[in-house]
Symmetry: C2
Amino acid sequence: MGRMAARPENAHQAQLLRLLRDEGPRSRAELGDAVSLSRSKVAVDLDRLLELGLIENAGLAASRGGRRSSLVQVASDLRFVSVDIGATSVDVALTNGVLDVLAHISEPLAVRRGPHVVLERALDLVGKLRAGDAKVEVHGAGVGVPGPVSFSDGVPVAPPIMPGWDRFPVREMLSQALGCPVLVDNDVNIMALGEQHAGVARQADDFLFVKIGTGIGAGIVVGGEVYRGVDGSAGDIGHISVDESGPQCACGNTGCLEAYFGGAALARDATARTGESDLLAERLAEAGELTALDVGAAAAAGDPVAIGMIRDGGQRVGRVLAGLVSFFNPGLVVIGGGVAGLGHMLLAEIRSVVYRRSLPLATGNLPIVLSELGGQAGVIGAARLISDHVFSER
Amino acid sequence: MGRMAARPENAHQAQLLRLLRDEGPRSRAELGDAVSLSRSKVAVDLDRLLELGLIENAGLAASRGGRRSSLVQVASDLRFVSVDIGATSVDVALTNGVLDVLAHISEPLAVRRGPHVVLERALDLVGKLRAGDAKVEVHGAGVGVPGPVSFSDGVPVAPPIMPGWDRFPVREMLSQALGCPVLVDNDVNIMALGEQHAGVARQADDFLFVKIGTGIGAGIVVGGEVYRGVDGSAGDIGHISVDESGPQCACGNTGCLEAYFGGAALARDATARTGESDLLAERLAEAGELTALDVGAAAAAGDPVAIGMIRDGGQRVGRVLAGLVSFFNPGLVVIGGGVAGLGHMLLAEIRSVVYRRSLPLATGNLPIVLSELGGQAGVIGAARLISDHVFSER
């Protein structure tokens, strides 16, 4: 792949590119208005972006009476790669320059198998996706991992569920293999970015994305930007205590939110309670193991044990979120991740606790909603992360 | 007072003024280096600031071999007014343009007496402070109030302990009375700004200021700026639940942090437990009532009841803060406010819980310290708030 792909050369070119990414094809006149630059200055920057191959002409605008003006758009052969590494799966996607997902592969893969196995498999999958699309140039890759990340270094830092990954040079390895700029972030942060780019949080500047999957975490967006904290661990809410006298957690403390809820805890509790539920017992006999999805299915079928588990879990998540809503006063809370597939029953419990327990001023106008993007939030967000970087002044 | 005082006319002038405010007298050459502008452009902007009366010449720099260069500084007759309204007191101060407190009056006054009584008394006190200083011009006033504020409107919004203040036009009334720009913010936010300007948080970009006074609240600073949330209620942590089966709180919920700790709860509990403590009983007999300070004094004298109360309170504050530290991953936590006068015993409890209960990555390098500014944090922060506004592009 050799040389790095072109990037904008100044702040105005970068701004024009991001505008075309987010708003679609625009005329030169519209672009001039949007960036408050003279038409002649916009023309110089657009000509340079055309020369760099970052944008292309896109025909004529619909007539508004006078001369029809010509449109430009992000170059159609521009590509971004997304790699969303979860606790038990890896998702890889290829997007175009406006972050439409062109192809997406998801397969089971345990992150605990270590960085060499996981990243090599991810690169194989990228190769597969690019096989039908070989002429185009990859302009960058965004990567999410299920643990804290030092964003400036592009390495995981002391990630509890990722043995062997501590300080592994993820960004460097992938950047060399792919021949393009790479950024690495926590998986919940990229899901938040995905919802902001293409999902329910499009108009939100200050919001929380709460992932309830194998683990539980939050992505925090402040003023339109992901807030990562001083060590990259902001949003790590799975180990907030909900009851000091509660069960032992893998982290060493007791009564953490994750020790009660999240995919692993739900599967464990469902297995332990098959004696009380014929439905769960049948599913265990059929599949050999129970997951959070089985609990969801049993609850949907009216099983009282499963319904009770989801209600209890929703209450505990709600209590933690109530405190965070009082603290952070967000404009929106988005619930996503695998366990969020439990859907509206879980959402109803969370809502009822948050609306009852947070400061009235902070909840008076606070939507709490399910993710719209589901399994695509991560890959869209990873593409958004790297495109913000690539579509910026060098 | 008539016409409004002068303000900088462009972004460079504003930047130069803030630099002189924060760094003290500087030569023209040093200023040019700091703002990355040519000497001739800096000279034009400095000349204009001199004409506007916002800066003044300050003699010659110490010789460094060649020609001694002349220094400029913020005009010495420039003044800011600070008004820090607490639950039971009002503080008023006058600062110069580099935010040194020139005069400061603090007097007891219950905020529940309503906006007319409190703001008129505050204006009287401002008049007193200005009496010896009549020739100088007030360039702006910063105001803190003990409740949520709509920052853009300059009005308190549904403040629980401020009857009669809901949507009262505080900014407008004071701006008309003082003839200068006014900004109104939550009292904890201005204390956070004070610590950032002149206290222990000078080098911190992302930190929490936790006030434990009559109420309990947090000021959140993100990227060097106060984060207020979408409704201005961010940081309202006094009503986070620490125990659902706990005592009834004034807010209607049960087991809120403030129902256990904070000045009012401590005074109530100390009064209820005088039967167990001779020291507290004596103090009650002497003074007719007990306050948080009596608990602190009894603890310092070794009284086991008082020590137990502070330890319990510190544990509960620590549990809430542990969750917020996991969520927010700040670089620093500053503890201030009246009850923080309980000092190192309280701090030790809070530290021990936070360090034990938060994610190790988030606490590995997290100082938790007492406020250095004490009773001056609010007035310095209020001056900082308004000076950031006045020293900005109009």
